[in-house]
Symmetry: C2
Subunit: 301 residues, 2 copies
């Protein structure tokens, strides 16, 4: 099996729903710990309107900080989420390593999240992604609500596939499917990724699961069997999209890494640092997080 | 895919760790609900020394009750766990439909749980199982701590396989692997079941996972892919063995059934009844249970 890549999204998808603002000093400290643990990619924030998501107001500043203060692990890749042209410009200005952008497969979710129809969002995002690629910047494009929608319920697979085929036409091959509402189940996961690989055999596949209904880790395993390479997860399982209904936490980074220690796929990632971080985040927000391993500790052999 | 069978073990593995005794009237009510939901097999209790596990003291009485007061669903199978010859005699006397017995693959767990070495327990349990079979009684034999042990850590797969091969020699083909400590991970699950099927192609395979480290549902999915037919789970995810270290709850019945609704494998099982039951059990014990679906509700399409 090829090397699996952990894309840590706690700093963005984890923090964005938290009302209590995290001071930038704390964000820097947590990011350093993530880098030290040797997770591969850290999503540092999103370039959104600060008045809409105040928690992400310091995203530019954070990226700038790490330009002049290198992370403990020089191989750490820093990603950032952009939603529109203004955000893309900001991301290019601060030198984000990997730019992430997405289109929802649900008309209702798309409208609530971006004010655009799926078709409008597709035109706009694909143009943005192409222009970033042309400037030599790696881009990951995602389909949000790819497995179901908290507002609409079932999402036709053909809607997902038609967005992905537009990605393919535009030469965008680093493709993530995001289970925004947590509706995914393992057989659906393997079916969708198979259809994408049939269409784009050299796609670089990513997945982003929420654990709302308890199937997050089963979906991770199914994605692994389906040839997915990039796995998005958040420390402690913190998070959820603020603009969707009843999304519970992300799949927990420590739980994924503990699993990849058990099956010997990524023993190089330091689980103890990740467990410490999740415990610290739990204390910071004064609440128990959904992750398992930071509470039980790892299995010691 | 052949029909998957749900073996509900909440009345035994769920309740046995709870200190507050559940009155028999309540147990009867909960069992009726389980039967009404159309789960296939209900494990009603264990035939153990009442002074060691007071919660199970009324097991004989419960079975007798349902002999004279039929369950709502006439197809419900009632199983019972036996640990020794005395328990087997009691189970035969009250007409248990399916007798379950197990041997731990961990010397330490076996000694703590039964006071016997693995070899001694194997001799004794296999003799008991053979005698029950000879009397025409269906028997399920299990290997406990099959994927790891809270005391010993790693359990050699060869230890599990050697117990299973003794089952095969004795003509015992309904075989469960129990992840008593919650150490199982999906690749290990598929590897072990494959070895068993290679040895006994007509084995009727069962699984029993605990969700201590968050991999319960991923292991369920892996077991499904591996040809396992019987799935043990407990309402609300209640439970855990009182004689092992740090075992968290069982995989939750409602979570498994919600998943089997999503993939259309068992839409005949009534999820609403199971969700109501888990909520009631949660209220009864005045604590939140580990299951997801009874808290989130099912996904409505």
């Amino acid at each position: 099996m090829k090397k699996l890549i952990l894309h840590e999204v706690g700093m963005r998808d984890g923090l964005q729903v938290e009302k209590t603002l995290v001071p930038i000093e704390k964000k820097i400290e947590w990011t350093k710990k993530l880098s030290e643990s040797a997770v591969d990619i850290i999503q540092l924030g999103s370039f959104v309107n600060p008045s809409k998501v105040p928690q992400m107001a310091d995203t530019d500043e954070l990226f700038k900080y790490f330009k002049s203060n290198p992370l403990p692990n020089p191989n750490t890749i820093l990603s950032g989420l952009v939603l529109n042209e203004k955000g893309l410009e900001r991301a290019m200005n601060v030198g984000v390593d990997l730019i992430c952008m997405g289109i929802s497969a649900s008309e209702t979710h798309s409208m609530k999240n971006t004010g655009m129809t799926v078709a409008e969002a597709s035109d706009r995002i694909i143009n943005m992604a192409k222009s970033a690629l042309q400037e030599g910047k790696p881009v990951q494009v995602s389909v949000q609500s790819a497995f179901g929608c908290g507002f609409e319920g079932k999402i036709d697979e053909s809607k997902v596939i038609s967005i992905v085929s537009r990605f393919a036409d535009a030469g965008l091959k680093q493709i993530s499917l995001a289970d925004t509402a947590g509706h995914a189940f393992p057989e659906q996961v393997s079916r969708l990724y198979k259809r994408i690989l049939d269409m784009i055999p050299d796609a670089q596949l990513a997945c982003h699961f929420h654990n709302t209904y308890g199937l997050g880790m089963a979906n991770i395993f199914s994605a692994m069997l389906s040839g997915v390479k990039y796995f998005e997860a958040a420390f402690g399982g913190l998070g959820g999209c603020p603009f969707t209904k009843k999304a519970a936490g992300n799949v927990s980074t420590e739980d994924v890494v503990a699993y990849w220690h058990r099956n010997s796929l990524r023993n190089d990632i330091n689980l103890d640092i990740l467990i410490d971080l999740a415990s610290e985040v739990s204390q910071h927000f004064e609440k128990e997080l959904p992750g398992y391993i930071y509470k039980t500790g790892n299995i010691k052999y």
